[in-house]
């Protein structure tokens, strides 16, 4: 728990700053737009429909889409104006959350202005107000309660959705939820959920109090509530500025599964304790987001796998060759084509494997993937989100001709339990996953050698490799230090024993010293 709370101020202030900034921009866009629409009843339905359509895009997808969108924008701006737009982290999260916040504010601004008594509008004109005076002295004050209700809705939505900005690399209370779900740390999940809900509640109430103060002309109440909001914003911004001003730490990335959390904590601990270098975690990122972040310098170090790099980054075709040959080729081509350094091969492989309950496989007489193909039409496969879209799966289907009765994607944290409980028959497992042994599962042999080798390699981004060759050398010390059995044990300690990735990483490093 202590370890959880250690990052609380950072996550909370980041979450708050992100949410307040998105709300402020959304209001700055939506209110004038709503006023404009309020005066153009014919344009209103079309624009409201567009804003409504944006709202129906699943929030996670909208956030993820902002990454390539900002990257494309960055290409344009760097060519035209000579500055880069950061495609991961704060930027895409802010852009997506702002879009989310616009709709309720826009809708309520339009509805609030439309709800103003026509007699009041006529009187406002009749006493000699200009259109601007009619708006500021009569229409906006009368529409204010409805507009504020929209702002409050937006606040709750934005604070809630901000928890999903973790995978695009913006820190938030969602970091607790994402890493907690993957490592079965339900205390972390609860902390993330409860504190995000609490934050939404506080913001909603504070905005409501400002509105009540204005409506009832209670200056003290207005000032207190507005002061509270401003103080929250300033505190969050200062906290974030302070952390940005501290000596630039080495940013260590992680994808969204247990092994990645352990390895990223392990690398951080290794660099901090053994080399005295400050580090900062950036966890729960999508696979391709993470590599792009490494190349652009937003992440400095993370662990990836040769097979993944070969297929997704180097666009390799045909047979990848042996483990050693692939490692050599990946090392050489990453350096030459991407400027990315392979600092160490950790010594284990984490390949994709199709796994079944051992007893079930025995009773059906399945030991290899060829055996599995014969039974596939009676069986159901469950896979993580990526797997069914990956080239490995295409290659497996192409070679073995799998035709499963049903294939469904599910969260990797649920997949293993699902096959153990018999809800699906086969899963796409990771060969180092501790749950394979723990739940009595068996990985089927790839008898025709379709799945490429997946050596775990520590990658170092171009900037860090250039500025700190000593860090690259230091990381080289991990070469070959973790074998597959060790990695399985570390994973099992987290997944089955309920220890935190940081504890497990530290304990293993202690055995090294």
């Amino acid at each position: 728990m202590k370890e959880l709370w250690a990052r609380f101020p950072e996550y909370l202030s980041a979450h708050l700053e992100l949410s307040l900034a998105a709300l402020a921009i959304a209001a700055a866009v939506a209110v004038p737009l709503g006023v404009w629409l309020g005066r153009r009843p014919r344009a209103a339905p079309a624009l409201l429909a567009l804003a409504g359509a944006l709202q129906t895009i699943p929030s996670l997808a909208l956030l993820a889409f902002m990454v390539p969108a900002l990257a494309a924008l960055g290409l344009v701006t760097s060519r035209l104006f000579g500055f880069e737009v950061r495609a991961i982290g704060y930027g895409p999260a802010l852009a997506a959350l702002t879009l989310y916040g616009v709709l309720p504010i826009l809708q309520n601004t339009v509805a609030g202005l439309r709800g103003v008594d026509p007699a009041c509008r006529e009187a406002a004109r009749g006493v000699g107000m200009t259109p601007r005076q009619q708006l500021w002295r009569v229409e906006i004050p009368l529409a204010l309660p409805v507009m504020v209700a929209g702002l409050r809705t937006a606040a709750v939505w934005v604070v809630g959705t901000a928890t999903l900005s973790t995978p695009v690399g913006a820190a938030s209370l969602g970091n607790y939820i994402f890493s907690g779900l993957q490592t079965r740390n339900y205390a972390a999940v609860s902390l993330g959920c409860v504190s995000a809900a609490g934050l939404a509640f506080v913001l909603d109430r504070a905005i409501g109090l400002v509105e009540r103060g204005v409506r009832e002309r209670r200056r003290a109440l207005t000032a207190t509530a507005a002061g509270l909001l401003v103080a929250l914003g300033v505190t969050a911004a200062l906290a974030n500025v302070r952390s940005a001003e501290a000596a630039r730490p080495i940013v260590i990335g992680a994808k969204t599964f247990t092994e990645q959390y352990i390895l990223s904590d392990l690398l951080a601990d290794f660099l901090e304790r053994d080399a005295g270098l400050p580090t900062r975690p950036l966890q729960s990122l999508g696979s391709t987001v993470l590599f792009d972040a490494l190349r652009s310098g937003e992440v400095d170090v993370y662990v990836d796998y040769t097979g993944t790099l070969w297929a997704n980054v180097l666009k390799g075709r045909g047979a990848p060759g042996t483990r050693a040959a692939l490692l050599d080729e990946v090392r050489r081509r990453l350096q030459a084509e991407q400027g990315v350094t392979v600092a160490a091969a950790l010594g284990f492989e984490n390949t994709y494997a199709l796994a079944m309950r051992a007893d079930r496989a025995r009773s059906l007489g399945i030991a290899t993937l060829s055996d599995l193909a014969a039974h596939a039409p009676e069986l159901e496969i469950g896979a993580d989100y990526e797997f069914l879209a990956r080239p490995e799966w295409q290659a497996l289907v192409g070679t073995y001709g799998f035709a499963f009765r049903r294939a469904s994607s599910m969260d990797p944290s649920l997949m293993y339990q699902a096959v153990a409980d018999g809800q699906v028959d086969v899963i796409s497992a990771f060969s180092t996953d501790g749950r394979l042994a723990a739940l009595g599962l068996t990985a089927l042999r790839d008898d025709r050698g379709v799945i490429p080798p997946y050596d775990a390699v520590v990658l170092v981004g171009p900037r860090l490799a250039r500025e700190r060759p000593d860090v690259v050398r230091k990381l080289g010390g991990l070469e070959g230090r973790i074998d597959a059995e060790t990695m399985r044990e570390l994973n099992r300690d987290v997944d089955q024993e309920g220890r935190t990735p940081a504890e497990v990483a530290r304990a293993w490093l202690d055995t090294l010293r």
Binding site: A119, R121, E122, A123, R125, G126, V127, G128, V138, L142
Partner: protein, 258 residues
């Protein structure tokens, strides 16, 4: 003085007001009388340009209104209408003082003027100044509406069925009170109504309109004695018919009442 010269208003092919010429003399109250859709409200609103005329010329005090920006024009014209349209978020004092404020009067002068007007419409300022409109009865709201219309010493006053939504007793009281105020201030007024009795009671002269055209213009007495058409005669006769029905009821056998 309000002058309308060959004024018209068209909405596409529909003619709401057709070639209308009228003159309201200084200090006079002219009633525009007619049924719904006769163009009386449209005519009234063209005077303060809440509605822009399609053709013709309107002058107030001899000055053409078309050259003056609408808001500036309306600050010189009192405007009072049936729904009153008090601003619910402002106090009674702020409602009454709105036009003087728009004209840039200083706060003390606005306050003095507000109190003066609240006295005029029989709402003691000490009790009513700081109330909100929602805390007032319909009749009190209309009094505040009248005070607001008169606040900036307007050259002319436009009233659109101002007493139409009030109960009969309140209406009667306000009509009487308004007549006193108007005579005291000597303000030139254009007054729209469809209530013949009200027109007869308040109007110095009455203009009867039908589908956007002027049918007859004259004093109440002229209209009663020499209606220009059968329709005007029937219209002007309505109060008398109602009075006769009343008398008939009173003469009915007393047994029925027991």
């Amino acid at each position: 003085m309000i002058e309308l010269e060959r004024v018209s208003k068209r909405y596409g092919d529909v003619v709401a007001v057709d070639d209308l010429s009228l003159r309201v003399a200084d200090g006079e109250l002219l009633v525009l009388l007619g049924g719904s859709g006769c163009g009386k409200t449209t005519t009234l609103k063209m005077v303060n340009r809440l509605i822009e005329p399609s053709g013709g010329r309107i002058a107030i005090g001899g000055r053409d209104t078309s050259g003056v920006p609408g808001p500036e024009l309306r600050r010189r014209i009192g405007y009072c209408f049936q729904q009153v349209g008090l601003f619910p978020h402002l106090s009674v004092a702020d409602n009454v003082g709105v036009t003087p404020q728009l004209l840039g009067w200083d706060a003390a002068r606005v306050r003095a003027r507000v109190d003066e007007l609240l006295e005029l419409v029989d709402l003691p300022p000490d009790r009513y100044r700081d109330r909100v409109p929602a805390a007032l009865s319909g009749g009190q709201q209309q009094r505040v509406g009248l005070a607001r219309a008169l606040a900036a010493n307007p050259e002319v006053l436009l009233m659109d069925e101002p007493f139409g939504a009030l109960d009969p007793l309140t209406r009667d009281l306000l009509q009487e009170r308004f007549q006193e105020i108007r005579h005291r201030l000597g303000i030139t007024t254009l007054f729209v109504t469809h209530d013949v009795a009200e027109a007869l009671r308040l109007g110095d002269r009455i203009a009867v309109l039908d589908v956007g055209r002027l049918v007859q213009l004259g004093t109440p007495r002229e209209l009663l004695l020499a209606p220009a058409s059968e329709a005007v005669a029937r219209l002007m006769d309505t109060p008398r018919r109602q009075a006769e029905q009343l008398e008939a009821l009173l003469r009915a056998p007393a047994a029925e009442a027991d």
